[in-house]
């Protein structure tokens, strides 16, 4: 049942592999916001960077937090990694982002159709909803499913010089996250603010 998403010409990929491919492309201290659970576990495991922000709660807010960073620092590229279940909690944020149209924001939706971390129950829209179609209908014209790993890398690179916000949907398997984020919110925030050049280290 877990991958019974609507038939698409897209390969089922792996979240840690895709996250590692994204991180490998970062050369300019780009910000990366990891959603709760496996999304930020894999971001941590792909290699900790001060420019990574790891959420420990507030499900669904990876894109809004990334939007805030993108508005504060329009010269910095900001990536956000979100699960399909999390995004379903905050679909309205897609319209907000489409309206503000920050050109430095790239959103990746890791879609496996399940609430993996709570026991792999299916999300309510798993069998019928198309996240990329929802994003397009929310006003994010620059939205696409990645067909395979190479296509994902191409879409990431394309987003880095896009004229508006980009959303990339990826179908992923149900493998658990690889690492475990250190759960110290103040340390995470302070390190991230160093990474954003907002703070000097003590």
């Amino acid at each position: 049942m877990t991958n019974e998403t609507p038939a698409r010409n897209t390969k089922v990929m792996n979240r840690f592999d895709l996250t590692s491919r994204l991180v490998a492309k970062l050369k300019n201290e780009e910000a990366v916001i990891g959603g709760i659970g496996n999304t930020n576990f894999d971001l941590w495991a792909a290699g900790h960077r001060p420019q990574n922000f790891y959420m420990l709660g507030s499900m669904g807010l990876a894109f809004p937090i990334a939007l805030g960073v993108a508005l504060a620092q329009p010269e910095r590229r900001v990536f956000a990694l979100e699960g399909d279940g999390s995004l379903l909690m905050q679909l309205g944020s897609l319209s907000t982002i489409a309206t503000l149209a920050p050109k430095n924001l790239t959103m990746v939706v890791m879609d496996n159709g399940i609430y993996q971390i709570t026991g792999a129950q299916p999300t309510p829209g798993a069998a019928v909803a198309d996240i990329v179609a929802i994003a397009v209908a929310s006003g994010l014209a620059n939205s696409a499913w990645a067909a395979d790993e190479e296509d994902f890398e191409r879409l990431i690179e394309q987003s880095m010089s896009a004229a508006g916000p980009t959303l990339i949907g990826v179908r992923i398997d149900d493998k658990p996250g690889v690492g475990t984020t250190r759960r110290d919110p103040v340390q995470i925030r302070e390190r991230f603010m160093h990474g954003m050049s907002v703070r000097e280290p003590l």
């Binding site: 960073v69 504060a72 907000t96 103040v186 954003m196």
Partner: protein, 184 residues
């Protein structure tokens, strides 16, 4: 910031409550103001939109606005969120899992519905959940009722939030704003 030492100026104390909010935000370099609207906030929202100093826009939910100003703070830009009481009621999770544990100076202006002549029973019930939530999270909050104290409360609360890296809720009582009246 010399502003911390300034006394309330006669010009400010003669201003409307929404004029004081706008000027005090500006003085404290708070530029990002996402909101979910409320009838009482209409003039403030209109004036924020009209002033190029501010980046102000509606969001679909209050927690979305909290996420946005939290990200902006970490990126070096100060923000505040506008909402009404029923919107505050949707925020317990994001306050307890983002603003408080990550020590983010989230500044919230909450237009108080549900009291002093409320006509909608649902609004009056949801209003009673607000202060217990704030108290149970040990969050700083002030209810503004008087124009002559308002600039002091807003300015000092913003400065305290930023210097102590803690969220604050400024509740705008109908005694200050006139509230919403039953007209239809």
């Amino acid at each position: 910031m010399a502003a911390a030492e300034e006394k309330t100026s006669p010009e400010i104390s003669e201003m409307s409550w929404h004029g004081i909010v706008l000027q005090t935000l500006k003085r404290n370099d708070i530029r990002l103001v996402p909101y979910v609207p409320d009838r009482v906030l209409t003039t403030l929202i209109r004036n924020l939109h009209a002033d190029p100093f501010f980046t102000t826009f509606p969001t679909a939910r209050e927690e979305e606005a909290v996420g946005i100003v939290s990200g902006a703070w970490m990126g070096g830009m100060r923000g505040a969120v506008l909402m009404q009481t029923s919107g505050f009621a949707t925020l317990a999770n994001v306050l307890a899992s983002l603003a408080i544990p990550y020590q983010i100076p989230l500044i919230m202006f909450v237009s108080e519905r549900g009291t002093l002549g409320e006509f909608n029973y649902g609004q009056s019930l949801v209003c009673r959940t607000m202060r217990p939530v704030l108290d149970s999270l040990a969050m700083e909050h002030h209810t503004a009722t008087r124009l002559d104290e308002f600039e002091f409360i807003v300015d000092r609360s913003i400065k305290q939030a930023i210097t102590t890296q803690a969220p604050v809720a400024l509740i705008l009582s109908p005694l200050l704003t006139g509230g919403k009246v039953f007209d239809k």
